[in-house]
C-alpha cells in the first residue's frame, strides 16, 4: 500500500527537490562491527528481492508526491549492492531513472566493497549512468582488516580503486575507519597516506562505534580487544585534519572530505533534513516531514510487497518545533553550517527567538558562530560537537 495519505502533492517551497535511496541488504560476510541491516548467506533471495524493489519503485513513482518532484540523486547502498549481478543492478538503475523525474545530470552513487567487483561489473554500472562509486575500504592494514572481519585485503582494495578508474569512474569515494582495537596513530597515518596516494575525490572517515549485539562488542566486553583511549582517538582526528588539508581534500562535514565540487549531493540533502524516498528492506525515507522505515527482513519485505501490503515497520511524524531542532542539529554537522534565512523561512520560526539564551551562551563560549548568514560550529567545537548539539536538540 503506497503512502497516499501524504497530502502535499505540490511540495513546499524548497522541498520540490528530492532524492532516492535504494537498499540492497545482502553481503558476502558480516563484518564484526556491523549492525546495519545486512545479511550474509542469503544470496538466494536476491532475485525475488529485486522484483519486490522494482515493484515498490513503480508504486512510489505513481504517487502524486513523487510526480510533483524532481530527483537529483540516486544512491544504491547496502549491504553490498555489487554482490548482485550486473544485469539486475543495471535494470534497477534504468527502471528508477525511467519511473521518476530526474534532473539532467543526477548524481548516481553505488556502494561497493573491494572483492565483489570486476572490470565488467564496473563498466556495466558506468554504462547505465552510475557516476559515483563509494568503496568500503575501512583500512589498509591487513591485520586490522582481519580483526574487523572484512573479507578482503589491502591490495584488493587498491586494485579495486584502480579498476574503478579504468572503468571510467571520475568520482570515487573511500570509507576508512579509525579508533579501531589495536590501531595506532602510525597505522592510521599509513592508511590515510595510501588512500590519498590513490587520489580519490572523496573520503568518508568514521570512528568505530561499537554497537551492542555485534561480535566486536562481545569481544571488547570479554577483554579480547581494547579500544584506543579518548586522547589517542583525538590525536587521530587531529592528524586527519592536517594530513588531508595538505592533499586538497577539504572537510565539509564532520566525517566527510572532498575535493572542490565533489561533495556528496545526496548526503548534503540528508544533512539539510529534506525529503527523500527510501526503498528496499530496512530503508528509511522522509517525505515532507513524515519519516518511514520499511521492514528490515528481506523475506518479510518481499512478502509484503508481493501481497500488496504496507512494507513499513516504523513511522515518525515530528511536530514543527522538533523538526526545526532536528534540522539544526543535522545541519550543524556541515562545516559550512546552516543558512539561517532558509531555515527560518522553511519553518516560519526565528532561530534566535527560539533558542534564546542557549544560543547566546554557546556563541559566547565560542562553540557556535554566526557569520555571513550562516550558523555553524566553530573549529574548536567540531571534536566535541555532541556537547553542543545536545543543548540544541
Amino acid at each position: 500500500m503506497p503512502p497516499s495519505f501524504i497530502k502535499d502533492p505540490a511540495g513546499n517551497a524548497g522541498d520540490k527537490k528530492a532524492t532516492i535511496y535504494l537498499h540492497i541488504p545482502f553481503c558476502k560476510s558480516k563484518c564484526h562491527y556491523c549492525s546495519f541491516n545486512s545479511y550474509a548467506g542469503r544470496t538466494n533471495e536476491i532475485g525475488d528481492y529485486f522484483k519486490a524493489l522494482n515493484s515498490q519503485m513503480r508504486d512510489m513513482a505513481a504517487q502524486p508526491w513523487s510526480q510533483n518532484r524532481s530527483f537529483f540523486s540516486l544512491y544504491i547502498g547496502g549491504g553490498t549492492p555489487t554482490i548482485c549481478d550486473s544485469a539486475l543492478l543495471a535494470d534497477l538503475i534504468k527502471n528508477c531513472l525511467r519511473l521518476f523525474h530526474f534532473t539532467d545530470h543526477p548524481e548516481i552513487t553505488v556502494e561497493t566493497n573491494p572483492n565483489t567487483i570486476s572490470t565488467e561489473k564496473l563498466y556495466s554500472l558506468v554504462q547505465t549512468g552510475a557516476n559515483r562509486l563509494s568503496i568500503g575500504v575501512q583500512s589498509f592494514s591487513n591485520s586490522l582488516l582481519l580483526s574487523l572481519g572484512r573479507s578482503h585485503t589491502a591490495d584488493e582494495a587498491k586494485h579495486a580503486f584502480t579498476m574503478a578508474r579504468q572503468a571510467g569512474f571520475t568520482n570515487i569515494s573511500m570509507d576508512l575507519m579509525y579508533g579501531l582495537p589495536g590501531q595506532t596513530l602510525q597505522e592510521w597515518r599509513h592508511s590515510l597516506e595510501i588512500a590519498t596516494s590513490l587520489d580519490p575525490e572523496h573520503l568518508s572517515l568514521y570512528e568505530l562505534m561499537v554497537e551492542e549485539g555485534t561480535p566486536m562488542a562481545a569481544k571488547i566486553k570479554g577483554g579480547g580487544a581494547f579500544l584506543p583511549g579518548e586522547d589517542d582517538v583525538a590525536d587521530m582526528e587531529e592528524l586527519t585534519a592536517s594530513l588531508l588539508a595538505a592533499k586538497g581534500l577539504k572537510r565539509y562535514e564532520i566525517s566527510n572530505f572532498a575535493k572542490p565540487v565533489f561533495t556528496s549531493q545526496h548526503n548534503i540533502h540528508y544533512w539539510q533534513n529534506l525529503s527523500w524516498i527510501g526503498m528496499g528492506a530496512g530503508a528509511t525515507g522522509s517525505l515532507s516531514g513524515i519519516r518511514m522505515t520499511n521492514v528490515p527482513d528481506p523475506a518479510t519485505y518481499i512478502e509484503n510487497i508481493r501481497n500488496k501490503q504496507n512494507p513499513y515497520s516504523e513511522m515518525e511524524c515530528l511536530c514543527r518545533q522538533s523538526r526545526f531542532r532536528e534540522t539544526v542539529i543535522m545541519g550543524l554537522r556541515m562545516i559550512e553550517g546552516i543558512r539561517i534565512d532558509d531555515l527560518e523561512k522553511r519553518f516560519a520560526m526565528g532561530l534566535e527567538a527560539y533558542y534564546g539564551d542557549t544560543l547566546k551562551e554557546l556563541t559566547e563560549q565560542k562553540l557556535l558562530e554566526i557569520s555571513n548568514g550562516f550558523l555553524r560550529l566553530t573549529a574548536a567545537a567540531l571534536t566535541v560537537a555532541n556537547q553542543v548539539l545536545a543543548r540544541l536538540v
Binding site: Y21, S204, L205, Y206, E207, M209, E230, D231, V233, A234, E237, I254, S255, N267, Y270, W271, N273, W276, G278, G282, A283, T284, G285, S286, R291, T293, E316, E326, I329, M330, R333, Q365, L367, L382, T383, V384, A385, N386, Q387, L389, A390, R391, V393
Partner: protein
C-alpha cells in the same frame, strides 16, 4: 478466638537466609492464596525491597491453620526488617511475640546478625524454633549447622526443623512445630488495656494503620484510646486482623495481633514501642522498652533542579507518613539552593529514602556527604550538637569535641581475623575483643567511631572477608575527638555539599580520597577542572580532570537521523541530572561517592 489457639511469632534471620521465601510459603500453605496468585515474596511489597531482597517496612499477617490435633489456630506472623539500621524496629516486633523461628541457611551457617537477633529474641524471653533452610542446595550441610545450633547457640536440637522454603519441603512440619512448641499468649483480657505499637503505616483513605499486639485488656470501635508516651488520645474507628487485606473485627483482645484505625493523620503520634490504653480506664503503667527512635546519620537532600523544591517538600511529607524514622527540616546551601536536612537510621536507610524519592516521586536529587552528630563544647561553656558541616564552629572557639561511638559486632571465619583487626585499627577502633562461638569462627567486638563506619566500612569489610564477614552495631556513647572541616573546591569554588567533618589525623588521606573519587565520577568537560581538598585556607590535596577532547558521532545519514537525535536527547536528559556548580556539571553519584570505596 480462644487465647490458647493463638500463636504470635517472628522469623529472625540473616539477610538472604530466606526469610521472605519462607513467609510466602507459610502464607501459601495456610491456603490464603492460590498458587496462581502466589507471587514471590508477598510480604515485601515495595519494589526496592524486592530488588534488594530485604524487608524495610514490616508487615504482619494472620494465618488460619488447622493443626493435626483438629483445632483451628490463628498464627500471627509478625514480619521484621532484616538490616542493622532497623534493629529498634526489630525489637518492637519481637516483643509482640511469644516465639520466633530462627532461620539459618544450611550452607552458610550462623552469621553475626543471626546471633544479634537471637540475643534480642532471648532478651524478650521468646521461645525459639531453629529452622535450617535451603536444604535443597548442593552445598547444604544441615548436620554441622545443627551442631552449631546445639553447641554454640545452646538451643535444643530436638526442636530443629529442616526445610527448603523454595521447594516447600518441611514447611508443614514447621507449622506443626509452631503450634506445638510455641506457647500461647498470656495476658488478661479483663485487665486494663495495654497494647504495644510495633509498626504504623499510612493509608491515604483511613489515616494511620497501627499494628499492635494486645498484651492485656481489649479494645473495640468507639473506645477512646490514649497513647501513653505521647499523651494523645483518639477515638477508635475500626479494629481488625491482618489478612492479605484488613479484616475488621468487633474487638481485639489480649493475645491478639491486629490493627487499629482512628483517622490519625500525623504518623509521628504513633511511635513504635508506645503503649495504647483506654482513656477512661487507663493502665497504671506503660509496657517497658519504649525508646525514641534515634537518627544517627544526617545528610541534606536537594532537588537537582531548584524549581522542584515544592515537589520535594510534598514528597518528603508523604514519605514520612509511612516512615516515622525519617526526620527532616528545611536547609539551604549556596551551591544547591533550598532543600532538607534529614536524619536517617543508617546509610542503608538513607539510600532507600533516596531511591524511593526518585522512583515514587520522580525527583532527581542530590544528597550531601552524610555526617554523624558531633558535640562541640565551646569556650563559653555551651555545647552544640552539630550534624551539618556548614555549622562547624570557628575552631578557635572550640574547647573540646566529642563524637558518637558504636560497639561493632563482627562475625568472621577465623582466617580473616588479621585483616579485620587491621581494618578496625585503621578506623580508630578501641577495646577489641574476640571469642570463638564455634571452632573456626570468630566473633569480634570493637568500639569504633560511628563516623568511621558510615565511611565505607561495611563495603571494605565485605571486600576483605570476601563476603563472609557480617556486621551489626549499636550506639554506645560519645567520646573525645579532634575534628577539622574538609572542604572541596571545584575550579576554585567551594562546594558546600561536599564538605565533611573529619578526624584531624585522617584529614589529608580523606582529602586525597575525595579528590580521587570525584575525578572518577565527574565526566570530562569542555575545560580543565581542578579539584582541591582544603582545610581552612590550606590546600591539602589536588587532582585535575583534563578537558574533554572528543564527543562526536562520526556517521550520520538518512536512516540514522531518528536514532542519533534520540541519543542526543538522552545526552541532554543526562545533563539535566547533573548539578551545575560554577560552570562544572557534577553528577548525582559524585556526592555520595566521596564516602565510598572505589567501585569495581
Amino acid at each position: 478466638m480462644p487465647q490458647d489457639t493463638i500463636r504470635n511469632f517472628s522469623i529472625i534471620a540473616h539477610i538472604d537466609h530466606g526469610k521472605s521465601t519462607l513467609s510466602d510459603r507459610l502464607i501459601q500453605k495456610c491456603g490464603m492464596v492460590t498458587d496462581r496468585q502466589f507471587k514471590d515474596q508477598l510480604l515485601d511489597s515495595m519494589d526496592i525491597e524486592r530488588e534488594r531482597g530485604i524487608t524495610i517496612k514490616s508487615q504482619t499477617i494472620c494465618l488460619p491453620y488447622k493443626a493435626k490435633d483438629g483445632k483451628l489456630y490463628s498464627l500471627n506472623l509478625v514480619d521484621t526488617p532484616g538490616h542493622v539500621d532497623f534493629s529498634y524496629e526489630v525489637s518492637r516486633a519481637l516483643s509482640s511475640c511469644e516465639g520466633a523461628l530462627l532461620l539459618i541457611d544450611a550452607a552458610q551457617g550462623v552469621e553475626a546478625q543471626t546471633l544479634a537477633n537471637l540475643y534480642l529474641a532471648m532478651d524478650y524471653d521468646l521461645e525459639i524454633i531453629p529452622v535450617i533452610n535451603k536444604i535443597d542446595l548442593p552445598s547444604a550441610d544441615p548436620e554441622s549447622v545443627a551442631m552449631q545450633i546445639e553447641e554454640d547457640l545452646g538451643l535444643e536440637a530436638e526442636h530443629i526443623q529442616l526445610c527448603s522454603a523454595k521447594t516447600g519441603e518441611g514447611v508443614d512440619d514447621i507449622l506443626e512445630a509452631i503450634v506445638k512448641y510455641l506457647p500461647p499468649p498470656k495476658g488478661d483480657a479483663d485487665a486494663p488495656l495495654q497494647a504495644l505499637i510495633f509498626d504504623a503505616n499510612y493509608d491515604s483513605f483511613r489515616g494511620t494503620i497501627i499494628s499492635c499486639r494486645i498484651i492485656n485488656g481489649r479494645i473495640k470501635a468507639g473506645d477512646t484510646m490514649l497513647f501513653m508516651a505521647n499523651k494523645i488520645s483518639y477515638k477508635v474507628d475500626e479494629v481488625g486482623l491482618f489478612g492479605l487485606v484488613r479484616q475488621p473485627r468487633k474487638e481485639l483482645r489480649a493475645g491478639e495481633v491486629g490493627y487499629i484505625l482512628a483517622g490519625i493523620k500525623t504518623v509521628t503520634d504513633t511511635k513504635p514501642g508506645d503503649t495504647i490504653t483506654l482513656k477512661d480506664a487507663p493502665a497504671s503503667e506503660p509496657l517497658p522498652g519504649f525508646k525514641e527512635i534515634q537518627q544517627v546519620v544526617f545528610s541534606s537532600i536537594y532537588p537537582i533542579s531548584t524549581d522542584e523544591y515544592e515537589n520535594l517538600a510534598s514528597a518528603m511529607e508523604k514519605l514520612t507518613l509511612n516512615d516515622a524514622s525519617l526526620t527532616y527540616q528545611k536547609d539551604s546551601s549556596t551551591a544547591l539552593g533550598f532543600g532538607f536536612r534529614c536524619g536517617f537510621l543508617g546509610l542503608l536507610h538513607l539510600e532507600v529514602i533516596q531511591e524511593r524519592l526518585e522512583r515514587e516521586f520522580d525527583i532527581p536529587l542530590i544528597l550531601t556527604v552524610p555526617s554523624v552528630c558531633y558535640h562541640f563544647h565551646l569556650e563559653d561553656g555551651t555545647m552544640k550538637e552539630i550534624d551539618n558541616p556548614a555549622y562547624f564552629p570557628d575552631p578557635s572557639t572550640i574547647s573540646r569535641t566529642e563524637e558518637p561511638f558504636i560497639k561493632a559486632t563482627i562475625h568472621i571465619p577465623e582466617r580473616y581475623m588479621g585483616s579485620v583487626m587491621t581494618l578496625c585499627m585503621e578506623r580508630r577502633g578501641e577495646n577489641t575483643h574476640y571469642h570463638y562461638p564455634m571452632p573456626g569462627r570468630i566473633e569480634f567486638t570493637c568500639e569504633v567511631p560511628l563516623a568511621e563506619v558510615i565511611y565505607d566500612f561495611y563495603d571494605r569489610l565485605k571486600s576483605i572477608t570476601q563476603g563472609y564477614g557480617s556486621f551489626d552495631y549499636k550506639l554506645i556513647d560519645y567520646r573525645k575527638s579532634d575534628l577539622v572541616k574538609l572542604d572541596i573546591l571545584v575550579n576554585g569554588e567551594r562546594v558546600d555539599a561536599l564538605s565533611q567533618l573529619v578526624y584531624r589525623a585522617n584529614a589529608r588521606q580523606r582529602g586525597l580520597h575525595a579528590c580521587e573519587r570525584l575525578k572518577e565520577e565527574i565526566p570530562r568537560q569542555m575545560f580543565k577542572i581542578a579539584i582541591q581538598g582544603a582545610i581552612g585556607g590550606t590546600i591539602i590535596s589536588r587532582t585535575t580532570i583534563a578537558a574533554l577532547r572528543k564527543d562526536v558521532t562520526a556517521k550520520c545519514y538518512g536512516g540514522d537521523i531518528s536514532r542519533k537525535r534520540k541519543l542526543l536527547e538522552k545526552q541532554k536528559a543526562g545533563k539535566k541530572r547533573m548539578k551545575t556548580v560554577g560552570n562544572v556539571d557534577i553528577p548525582q553519584k559524585a556526592f555520595l561517592a566521596v564516602l565510598k570505596s572505589e567501585e569495581r
